[in-house]
């Protein structure tokens, strides 16, 4: 069941298009990664989905409700990018206050505040004033505030930007725990390796337009590279391969080239063997999410000038 649905959503600020005709669907229980370069429109889309920004055109539904609908908001948690927390409160007071706003009674709110503070690694820090928290601690506290209402959907906009590697790993573990509990996580992040490790689905946005959307392995199944160490390659076969793969490079006994997909590797090896080559080593290139991301963003830049 789709818990987040976005249909032909467009947001224009003056002359600038922040989001253009975006269509997305996120299934319940998934960790959904939303990637894009700075200024691509990621945060704008999240702000639309949590009801902070109105779309210029199109429609969005979260948990079956329009983003401004209070009934839907009861079931979401949100950690914004570039947020600040009220420094005059103690950590546990702030989280308990968010719990009250999420609809919990005073006693349950306090209990739940302790639970989420422990979850984000701030147990024992709750009695400190937020103003005295480090940037990383504030980010953890923001995450605790987002989770305190036990939401069905959590929107996290760059949740690990201020964390050290250990903190990032802890957040990844929290995300996996949330998924195990059946929660949906909408994750905006610049950290591609992080997204690659935890996300069930990924969409890439560039210049306000979604340019790729699918499971990470689907996206990674696209264009691939391969390096082959071989012997007895004839000039005739090399010429044939150059015609077929224009970016082929041959240095000594090493051949490297780009393929349409990883499935073509076997076909290439078969052709080489049939042509009399001896194959010593075949190394398929790892098509990381970063490669795909960089490729799509550069492609977009070339198209748009």
């Amino acid at each position: 069941m789709a818990i987040i649905e976005v249909a032909h959503l467009t947001k224009v600020y003056g002359q600038q298009v922040a989001c253009r005709d975006i269509c997305l669907s996120v299934e319940e229980g998934q960790i959904f990664g939303f990637l894009g370069p700075n200024g691509a429109g990621k945060s704008t889309l999240v702000k639309i989905l949590v009801g902070l920004v109105y779309p210029t055109a199109g429609e969005a539904k979260v948990v079956g409700y329009a983003p401004q609908d209070i009934r839907g908001r009861r079931q979401i948690g949100f950690l914004p990018e570039n947020f600040r927390l009220h420094g005059w409160l103690k950590g546990e007071e702030l989280v308990a206050f968010h719990a009250r706003l999420a609809g919990l009674d005073g006693r349950t709110a306090r209990r739940r505040a302790y639970e989420v503070l422990e979850l984000v690694g701030l147990a024992g820090e709750g009695r400190k004033l937020v103003a005295n928290y480090s940037k990383g601690m504030q980010q953890r506290l923001g995450l605790a505030a987002a989770l305190v209402g036990d939401p069905r959907v959590v929107f996290l906009d760059e949740p690990t930007s201020a964390l050290d590697p250990l903190g990032r790993r802890e957040v990844r573990e929290i995300l996996l725990t949330l998924r195990a509990a059946g929660k949906t996580v909408f994750l905006n992040s610049h950290l591609l390796s992080e997204v690659e490790q935890v996300c069930d689905r990924v969409a890439i946005i560039n210049r306000g337009t979604v340019v790729a959307d699918g499971r990470p392995e689907e996206l990674q199944a696209g264009p691939a590279t391969v390096a082959i160490r071989l012997g007895a390659l004839t000039g005739e076969l090399a010429a044939e391969l150059r015609r077929r793969y224009p970016d082929l490079q041959l240095e000594g006994d090493r051949l490297s080239l780009a393929l349409g997909s990883r499935e073509e590797v076997a076909e290439l090896v078969a052709r080489l063997v049939a042509g009399g080559c001896r194959i010593y080593e075949v190394t398929p290139g790892h098509n990381s999410l970063e490669d795909i991301f960089v490729h799509l963003v550069k492609e977009g830049e070339l198209l748009c000038g």
């Binding site: 920004v53 109105y54 908001r73 009861r74 600040r84 009220h86 706003l101 923001g142």
Partner: protein, 288 residues
Amino acid sequence: MWLIALFTFREAWRKKVVLLAGVLTLAFLILYGTGLHFTLGDRVYPSDPAAADFFEMMEAITLFSMGIYLAGFLVAGLAILAAVGSIAGEIENGTLYPLAARPLSRRALLLGKYFGLAAMLVTYAALFFLALSGLIYWQTGLVIPGLAPALALFILKPLVLLSITMMGTTWLPTLGNGVLAFGLYALAVAGGMMEQIGVLMGSTAAVYSGVITSFILPADAVYRMLVATVVHRLPIGNGQDMPFFNPQMILGPFGSQSTPSDWMLVYTLAYIVILLAVAVRTFKLRDI
């Protein structure tokens, strides 16, 4: 809404806004009380006992009006500064995002902030007013006539300023809103003063200009209503048994020669409600 109101009230308290205002107010009261003591110590009254009583009372009322007039500046300043960035400022520094995404309507968020700040201002203004009245009683023995309605009017002034500042913060950046609120307040004060001088000098144009500024921001008009409320309840005088000594005239620019009608009170209340309605609508429609 009440959670936000309580949160806002606690914020003002914890950020030491009330404490700082309290310290300044205490300094003001000490200065005012000292001035009051020495001014009254130097008094010389006419030999006629009725005239002496009248002048003694009017001296106390004049000093009270001056005190209230000046106290009004402190209360107005606190009202504007407390609310000037309550929406725009929180958007600018990023504290509003987590709150605004909660299951809470924009109306509840804005009105919660209004009522939280209003509770703080009403408490502060009431204590300030009662302290001034107490000083007058201590030094002169005069219980301010119409104490309760005068107190209500004194409280109304920061609420008027709070409503216009809250409206401004829904669409203007913090600095711009501060300029607007203080600018309008200065206009209202200058217009009110001009109106009183206009009556004394017989200038209809000056009186009308004061009336117009009262419609733009009825802050000074509320003060004039307060003075009129006190003077109309004076036990003696009231300009009837001593026609040559109209009490309002004795009060000079701090008096209310041109007293706003009761409709101005209705207008002021409607003004607050309408401004808040506009603020709610503007906030509801804007992107955060």
